[in-house]
Symmetry: C2
Amino acid sequence: MKFATSPSEIERRSMEIIAPYLADYSLTAEELKVYSRIIHASGDVYYAPLIKISAGALEATKAALLDGRDIFVDVEMVRTGINKRALSKLGGAVHCRVADDEIKKIAVEEKITRSMAAMRSFGRALDGAIIAIGNAPTALFEVLRMIDEDGVRPAAVIGVPVGFVGAADSKKELASQSTVPFITVEGTKGGSPIAVAALNAILYIVNSARN
Amino acid sequence: MKFATSPSEIERRSMEIIAPYLADYSLTAEELKVYSRIIHASGDVYYAPLIKISAGALEATKAALLDGRDIFVDVEMVRTGINKRALSKLGGAVHCRVADDEIKKIAVEEKITRSMAAMRSFGRALDGAIIAIGNAPTALFEVLRMIDEDGVRPAAVIGVPVGFVGAADSKKELASQSTVPFITVEGTKGGSPIAVAALNAILYIVNSARN
């Protein structure tokens, strides 16, 4: 068998293959990087028409990263996928509480999901921070409630929960509010690699501008 | 807002929504669980026609799990997603070496991907074990080479690498060999959550049969 084995070569060829699928979209160079990386991570060019980046969302996320702000995530797979070395260069860290014993206890007592209990527990620590939700619609609904009712003000929300119960609705609600900048995808698709792809794309943009 | 917050209720409703999309496939009850969980994890019903489970693959994976065999994976996101509590009840553990310093060194020296170097380093430890590849086509190509040239005999390969460079080819090659039982999906789509979904579905089947 003959196949590409150099990581940089694989990435370059992948981006070349994806480019024509994005030719009809009017995207900035940075938006193009986010779109390309989402399609690269999913192997699914049909993500292109589903992606929504609110005006100023990339600027707000970049500014927060440059400011050393932390990232709060719903599930461990998102934490795992985020490039922590790139993030730590900027002074930021990733927080995930979904597996904490205290959170499990609260979730059982209140009959809510663990990721929802985890998001609620972060409280005002979310102010100025980046939120990345790759799995749980309930976590995104809770963040939207905290923005609306508690006045919490994250720098940006990358909200791409996945599935058939609540995911599409939670993302529609994220896209219909104008208080907090956001990145999302329409419909049932999404997931940890999509959240990770969007965030890492922005991390690379920020770090390569600094080098 | 009103939305489902009970994890068991969300899961039940999700599976109800997915069921009609699988009605036209002739699947065993266990295959149905694997298909449903992949669609649940991706939010993408168009996975259904892409999934391929070789004859005996579920039996082989179940037997290996029951025998306490380990799981070898290509990337940390797959390790993170596998239900380690369910696995450890059976005596198994997950191995991933993609982030090891030694592997990085070998990858740079040999100009190959780290996940390919990591798979190669496992050698005969793969005999009788389960392999789950969720990201890197090069890792799957290497496993196929080890099966073909080195006579390595894993119990089963769950091979669902993602992307536009090599992923479809590597999975086609997996599906065209008949030495090792496999689970895969056709084409460019795939990813860590797909590998995790297939494996956790089988873990739940095995553990619920034991309870």
